[in-house]
């Protein structure tokens, strides 16, 4: 499983990742300050202990993606090698993925008459050609690194151990909401980068699947109960009718 490790202590905010992303995905120039339907990754700044901290946002490529779980037709899915990819062909445009994503990543082509959901593809096309993610390739400082997920986790743990004061002692994306293929190391609280810190450790799709998985039991038990109620009340009505007739004679 491939992954990306982003370390904001190494990021100089040069914007190479954004440019490489734009080129690789054939996206137009834009000065949008946030992710958009034409911008799959974005550089932002936040206040740190010693001056400004640069950070990136992009799709987390969750291990058990909420977006893929909610899609009624399965237009989004997690590939075994890491990327969460989207198939516009079968998409209905219900936008449940936008609503459900805990990181609020997917964007929509609101002004299009044939709108698509847009987000980072983890360079699935480049991966198929044996290349690494365009952003990681372009990064001059190694702030964004591509690699195997378990190796990047090992690397991240080593950095945390080497810099107990430098880093918040957590690898964001290791276990949050079931874990992700994009991992973050940070010198500032993760919430400052817009990453929610109140997510459960279990994957969010479990919240709905727990209910959905009870449907077969409900259908069985419900049908049985309805049949029973029908029989009981029918019998009661019959008895009442007979009694009414009998009551007339006595």
């Amino acid at each position: 499983m491939r992954a990306l490790l982003f370390d904001n202590t190494k990021c100089i905010g040069c914007g190479s990742c954004m440019m490489a992303c734009r080129e690789s995905n054939h996206l137009p120039e834009t000065d949008a300050p946030d992710l958009s339907d034409k911008q799959f990754t974005v550089l932002k700044k936040t206040a740190g202990k010693d001056g400004e901290v640069n950070y990136r946002r992009l799709c987390m490529h969750c291990q058990d993606p909420t977006c893929a779980s909610v899609c009624p037709v399965g237009a989004l899915h997690k590939t075994p090698s890491g990327p969460v990819v989207y198939n516009a062909e079968i998409c209905l445009g219900c936008r449940y993925c936008l609503q459900a994503c805990p990181f609020s990543i997917p964007r929509y082509e609101w002004t299009s008459l044939n709108p698509r959901v847009r987000k980072c593809t983890f360079c699935a096309d480049r991966q198929a050609q044996g290349k690494i993610n365009a952003c990681a390739e372009a990064c001059p400082t190694g702030a964004t690194m591509a690699g195997e997920r378990d190796q990047l986790l090992k690397e991240a743990r080593a950095r945390l151990a080497a810099g107990p004061d430098k880093y918040v002692q957590k690898i964001y994306g290791e276990r949050d909401a079931g874990g992700a293929s994009v991992l973050y190391l940070s010198s500032v609280p993760f919430s400052q980068m817009g990453l929610p810190e109140n997510l459960p450790l279990e994957p969010l799709p479990l919240l709905t699947f727990r209910v959905l998985s009870k449907i077969p039991t409900f259908v069985g038990a419900g049908s049985f109960m309805l049949a029973g109620l029908w029989w009981l009340t029918n019998r009661k009505a019959e008895v009442a009718r007979v009694e009414q007739r009998g009551g007339g004679q006595s």
């Binding site: 992710l35 958009s36 909420t66 779980s69 909610v70 899609c71 009624p72 037709v73 399965g74 237009a75 079968i90 998409c91 209905l92 445009g93 219900c94 936008r95 449940y96 936008l98 609503q99 459900a100 805990p102 609020s104 997917p106 964007r107 929509y108 082509e109 609101w110 002004t111 299009s112 008459l113 044939n114 709108p115 929610p196 109140n198 997510l199 459960p200 969010l204 799709p205 919240l207 709905t208 699947f209 209910v211 959905l212 449907i215 409900f218 259908v219 419900g222 049908s223 309805l226 049949a227 109620l229 029908w230 009340t233 029918n234 009661k236 009505a237």
Partner: protein, 389 residues
């Protein structure tokens, strides 16, 4: 006077439909972004919150009344079956029409039948709504067949009506609750006053109460519009069950808020969170007040008082669904969504079309009186009262 009033309503309806027609053109010629105030952080608005969540919920009378009559043998409720099934059937048709506005690629809707994702609540809702609409059309079909004078077709439907109604109960329970389950996956986004693992149960209980309230509300409306209403002793029975379900809903709601420690959020009357607290109490008051009032038999036996109660329940239900789907997501999205006039125009047009078709159907089809011999045997006096000129 009545003539003047009907001219007034016709002018209003025409104004709404023209605005709706223009909004429809904008939606399909320039896209969702041009017609709505939706954006990436706030992807669902009035068309989901009202047209889908409220529309489906208010049509819940269809499955409760048919279950009462065909499964529980509550024969005296039989005169309510036809108008309620008609409302539900129209309701679901309108929901599907409204969905076409909201889906970004409505022409792909059939794909939910071919590409399955059983992990998706939306997938389950889609299948249930599709199947239940079919059930409703079959439940309503005898009315059409009687009008066409096809006794064999009427007989065929009658032969399978009990399992059909049972299927309707199962499908309705599944999707009425699943509309709540849609929001189970937003634990960090939906406000704690509305996020709850009990959402599916709460949605089902409130839909049953609102569906019954609609039966009373419609009877009151048709009394005003065409001087025809259901008998008050029938409505009294319906309202008792409505009170029961409102009670269960409110008890479950408050026990759940207490157990999750979220009750405090209801008492934030200033600063951030005060809007949510206010909307929570509005919703609660609109559901609790009619429950308390209709608990008295004196209120239940008074048609106008009961009509007022049912109106409050319907309003409280609408506020609840809009709270879950809109108010409850303000804080996490940082966007205080209010629909554009075009979103409102489309929604109102859907309502107007629904009222118009309902009126047409009750005028030309045997909805308020059944020509079926079975109902005549029950000797229901109201079938005479409903017989129209």
């Amino acid at each position: 006077m009545t003539r003047l009033r009907s001219v007034f309503w016709r002018v209003i309806a025409l104004a709404i439909l023209s605005a709706g027609a223009y909004a429809t053109w904008v939606r399909f010629a320039h896209g969702l972004g041009a017609a709505t105030r939706l954006n990436d952080s706030y992807p669902w608005g009035l068309w989901i919150g009202f047209d889908i969540l409220c529309g489906v919920g208010l049509a819940a009378g269809g499955f409760t009344i048919t279950t009462a009559v065909y499964i529980l043998h509550l024969e005296r409720l039989r005169p309510i079956v036809r108008p309620t099934v008609l409302t539900a059937f129209l309701g679901y048709l309108l929901v599907v029409c409204a969905l076409m506005f909201d889906l970004g690629r409505p022409w792909n809707i059939w794909r939910a039948m071919v590409w399955w994702n059983p992990h998706s609540v939306m997938f389950e809702v889609a299948w249930c709504v599709m199947l239940y609409s079919t059930v409703l059309s079959l439940e309503f079909s005898p009315v059409l067949f009687e009008w066409l004078k096809w006794p064999r077709a009427v007989k065929a439907v009658k032969a399978v009506i009990v399992p059909l109604v049972g299927l309707g109960f199962i499908l309705s329970t599944l999707h009425q609750s699943s509309l709540g389950s849609l929001y189970l996956i937003l634990p960090t986004k939906l406000h704690p006053l509305w996020y709850s693992p009990l959402l599916p149960v709460l949605f089902w209980l409130s839909a049953v109460a609102a569906g019954l309230a609609m039966v009373i509300f419609e009877s009151g409306m048709s009394a005003r519009a065409f001087g025809r209403a259901l008998e008050s002793h029938l409505l009294e029975g319906v309202s008792k069950v409505m009170v029961l379900f409102l009670g269960m809903f409110l008890v479950a709601r408050f026990l759940d808020l207490g157990a999750r420690g979220s009750l405090g959020a209801a008492f934030r009357f200033s600063g951030p969170g005060s809007l949510e607290a206010g909307m929570f109490w509005l919703e609660t008051a609109l559901l609790a007040a009619p429950m308390a009032l209709a608990a008295f038999s004196r209120v239940r036996s008074h048609p106008q008082a009961l009509f007022a109660c049912s109106t409050m329940v319907v309003a409280g239900f609408l506020v609840n669904r809009l709270n879950v789907s809109t108010t409850g997501l303000y804080a996490s999205s940082g966007y205080n969504y209010f629909p554009s006039w075009m979103e409102i125009a489309v929604t109102l047009s859907v309502v107007v079309v629904g009222l118009f078709v309902f009126r047409l159907a009750t005028r030309f089809l045997p909805v308020y009186h059944s020509a079926a011999p079975q109902a005549a045997q029950e000797g229901e006096p109201q079938s005479a009262a409903y017989a129209q000129s």
